[in-house]
C-alpha cells in the first residue's frame, strides 16, 4: 500500500525554525506543512495589507522559506502553508523572489485566495458562535472576515504541479489533508477517509505539541530534550492508516500519552469535529505504541461535510492598558497588596475610565483566583493591573499609574513594566458554503 510522510514544520506563527530544517534534511518526507495562522492573525495582517498592498502575510515567511527551501528543493519536498495570511498572492510572489535569490529555479508556487468574505458578511446578519450576539452588534468595528477553506483548492494546486502552496485562512487539518487528497486521489465524499485524514491533520497541526511539547510535568511526565524538540511526521497510507513519529535523535517523545492529549486538544464533542471537508469523528480512535517514538492511530471516521463554513471575524475591541511591578523578601505580599490598593485608589482619583479591571498578584492568585490558590508566603510577588478602555490614551494611563509606584508606592518595588495595546478580537459565524469561492493563482521562480 502507498504511504506518504508529511512533516509538520510549525505549530504557530512564532514557532522554532530549526525543527523544520531537520525535517526537510533528515525526515524522508514528501510534504512539509507550516501552520502559522492564529485566530486573530488574519485580522492583524489585514491591517498591514491596508497600509501596504504588498504586505499582509506572515512576518516570518522570509525567514522560514530561506531556512527550508534549499533542503526542500533538493529533496523534492512540497510545502503547504497558511503563511499567506491576508495576502497569499503577495506571499507567493515574495517566496518566488526568495527562491530566485537562493538560486532555485523552476519552482511553481501557488496562492490560494478567496477566503476573504468581508463583503458577504457585511450583507448578512449572522449569529456569533462561541460567544453571544450577532454580526450586526459588531457593526463598523469589523476589520476582517475570513472563511476556513477546506483541502480542495490546496489539493488542486498540488495536482496542477505546485511545489509550494500558500493559502490564507484554511482549516488547520485541511493543510495536511490536501497532500493526502493529492497523493492518493481520495474522493471528496469518502467521509471515512476524510475523517481519518482529519485525525492525522489534527494530531500534526500543532507541531511539537504531539512530540512532547506542552506536556512535561517533572516527576509525572518527564520528557528529554525539549530544547531540541523534534517536530512530528505523519506516515499516512492510502487507506488512511496513520503512524505518528519524528526524526530519530531529535528531542521529545512520541507516545500514546502525547497523542491522546493532542487528539483532544481544542476538541469539543469528539464525535463531531466540524471541518470544511467533513464532520470528523474522533470518538472511536485508538492509539498503540508500535516502536520507539512510533504510535499507530486508527479508528477515525467521518460523516458528510456541513453546508456552512466557519468564518473568523476580526473586530476592533477597544484597548488594554497594563502595568506590573515586583516586590520581594520579607513582607513582599503585604507590600504588593498595599501597592494594589494604592493603584486602585489612584485610578479612581485620576478618573481613569475602564469597562473591566484585573488586579492580580502574580505568584499568589493571578491565574486561578484566590479560592484555588494555596496560602503561603511567597518570596516574591508581582503586582499586575489591567483594564479595558475605549481609547489608547486612557489605556496608557493605567501602566503609567502602576509605574508611579516606584517613587510613590511601598518599599522596594522594582522592575516596572507597562503596555497599552489595541485589541483586535475574533468572533465566529457560519456562512453558507456557496458564498465562498476559492481561487488558485500561480507564479514561477
Amino acid at each position: 500500500m502507498r504511504t506518504i510522510r508529511i512533516g509538520s514544520g510549525a505549530g504557530y506563527s512564532g514557532d522554532r525554525i530549526e525543527p523544520a530544517i531537520e525535517l526537510a534534511e533528515k525526515g524522508d518526507i514528501q510534504y512539509l506543512v507550516f501552520e502559522c495562522l492564529g485566530e486573530r492573525t488574519v485580522a492583524l495582517a489585514q491591517r498591514a495589507r491596508l497600509k501596504n498592498p504588498d504586505d499582509g502575510f506572515d512576518p516570518l515567511l522570509e525567514a522560514r522559506m530561506r531556512a527550508v527551501l534549499p533542503a526542500s528543493a533538493a529533496n523534492g519536498i512540497k510545502i503547504v502553508t497558511n503563511m499567506g495570511a491576508a495576502n497569499p498572492w503577495a506571499a507567493a510572489r515574495k517566496t518566488a523572489q526568495i527562491a530566485a535569490s537562493l538560486g532555485l529555479s523552476r519552482l511553481k508556487i501557488a496562492a490560494v485566495m478567496g477566503d476573504d468574505v468581508l463583503e458577504a458578511c457585511k450583507q448578512h446578519d449572522l449569529p456569533l458562535i462561541e460567544i453571544d450576539g450577532t454580526l450586526k452588534m459588531l457593526g463598523n468595528r469589523i476589520v476582517s472576515a475570513n472563511a476556513y477553506l477546506g483541502a480542495e483548492p490546496m489539493a488542486a494546486a498540488l495536482k496542477a504541479g505546485a511545489d509550494i502552496v500558500i493559502t490564507g485562512r484554511a482549516s488547520d487539518p485541511a493543510l495536511f489533508l490536501a497532500p493526502m487528497v493529492d497523493a492518493f486521489g481520495w474522493p471528496m465524499d469518502d467521509w471515512n477517509l476524510l475523517g481519518r485524514g482529519t485525525v492525522a491533520g489534527h494530531l500534526l497541526e500543532c507541531a511539537g505539541q504531539v512530540t512532547g511539547g506542552y506536556f512535561a510535568d517533572p516527576g509525572f511526565k518527564d520528557v528529554a530534550g525539549l530544547a531540541r524538540l523534534g517536530f512530528p511526521i505523519g506516515e499516512v497510507s492510502e487507506d488512511g492508516g496513520l503512524v505518528i513519529t519524528k526524526v530519530a535523535g531529535s528531542g521529545g517523545e512520541v507516545s500514546v500519552r502525547t497523542c491522546k492529549e493532542q487528539l483532544l486538544y481544542e476538541v469539543h464533542d469528539p464525535s463531531r469535529y466540524m471541518q470544511p471537508d467533513v464532520v470528523a469523528d474522533f470518538s472511536q480512535v485508538a492509539v498503540e505504541q508500535i516502536g520507539p517514538d512510533r504510535v499507530s492511530v486508527s479508528g477515525g471516521r467521518g460523516r458528510p461535510r456541513p453546508d456552512t463554513l466557519k468564518i473568523s471575524v476580526g473586530y476592533v475591541d477597544g484597548y488594554i492598558g497594563e502595568g506590573q511591578m515586583s516586590y520581594a523578601g520579607p513582607g513582599a505580599e503585604a507590600r504588593a497588596r498595599l501597592a494594589l490598593e494604592i493603584v486602585r485608589e489612584r485610578l479612581k482619583l485620576t478618573h481613569v475610565e475602564a469597562s473591566e479591571w484585573r488586579f492580580d498578584l502574580i505568584g499568589i492568585d493571578a491565574l486561578h483566583g484566590e479560592r484555588l490558590s494555596q496560602a503561603g508566603a511567597p518570596y516574591e510577588v508581582r503586582v499586575r493591573v489591567a483594564g479595558r478602555t475605549d481609547t489608547l490614551s486612557e489605556a496608557v494611563r493605567i501602566g503609567d499609574e502602576v509605574e508611579t509606584l516606584y517613587t510613590n508606592g511601598p518599599a522596594g518595588g522594582g522592575g516596572a513594566f507597562k503596555s497599552a495595546r489595541d485589541i483586535v478580537a475574533v468572533a465566529s459565524v457560519l456562512l453558507p458554503r456557496d458564498l465562498v469561492a476559492p481561487q488558485v493563482r500561480f507564479v514561477e521562480a
Binding site: 491522546k260 483532544l264 481544542e266 476538541v267 484555588l372 483586535v424
Partner: protein
C-alpha cells in the same frame, strides 16, 4: 486520598470563550474511577468563579479519557481577555489538583 494528578494527565485547549480540558488515565484500569469521580458537576464546582457557563463531559473509553467542555471560561474570549493566561492553558493543572478516592486495595505501583 490521592490527587487526580497521580492517576491522570490533562491538556487544555481554547476556542473563543470556551475551554476544553482533557483528563486521561495513565492506566486504563483507572478509567472507571475517573468516570465515577470526575463528574461535570464536580468540575463546574472546582472552577466556580472562573467558569461561568455549563460544563459538558464527553467520554472516550477507547483512550481511557474524559473531555470537559467549559463554556464562558476565558474572560470573554482568548482574543479579548484581560487575564494573564488568556488561553486558560494553566487550567489543566488546576483540575489535576482534584482529590480522588482510590480503592483500599489500590496498587500505587500500577499507576
Amino acid at each position: 486520598m490521592a490527587k487526580l494528578r497521580d492517576i491522570a494527565h490533562s491538556r487544555t485547549g481554547d476556542k473563543g470563550n470556551i475551554s476544553n480540558i482533557s483528563v486521561i488515565a495513565f492506566d486504563a484500569r483507572h478509567y472507571p474511577l475517573l468516570c465515577a469521580q470526575v463528574t461535570s458537576a464536580r468540575v463546574k464546582a472546582h472552577f466556580d468563579g472562573i467558569v461561568f457557563g455549563e460544563v459538558v463531559r464527553y467520554e472516550l473509553p477507547n483512550i481511557a479519557a474524559l473531555n470537559f467542555v467549559l463554556d464562558q471560561a476565558l474572560g470573554g474570549g482568548v482574543t479579548r481577555s484581560l487575564a494573564l493566561d488568556a488561553h486558560g492553558k494553566s487550567l489543566s493543572s488546576a483540575l489535576l489538583d482534584l482529590e480522588i478516592e482510590l480503592p483500599p486495595d489500590h496498587d500505587r505501583g500500577a499507576a
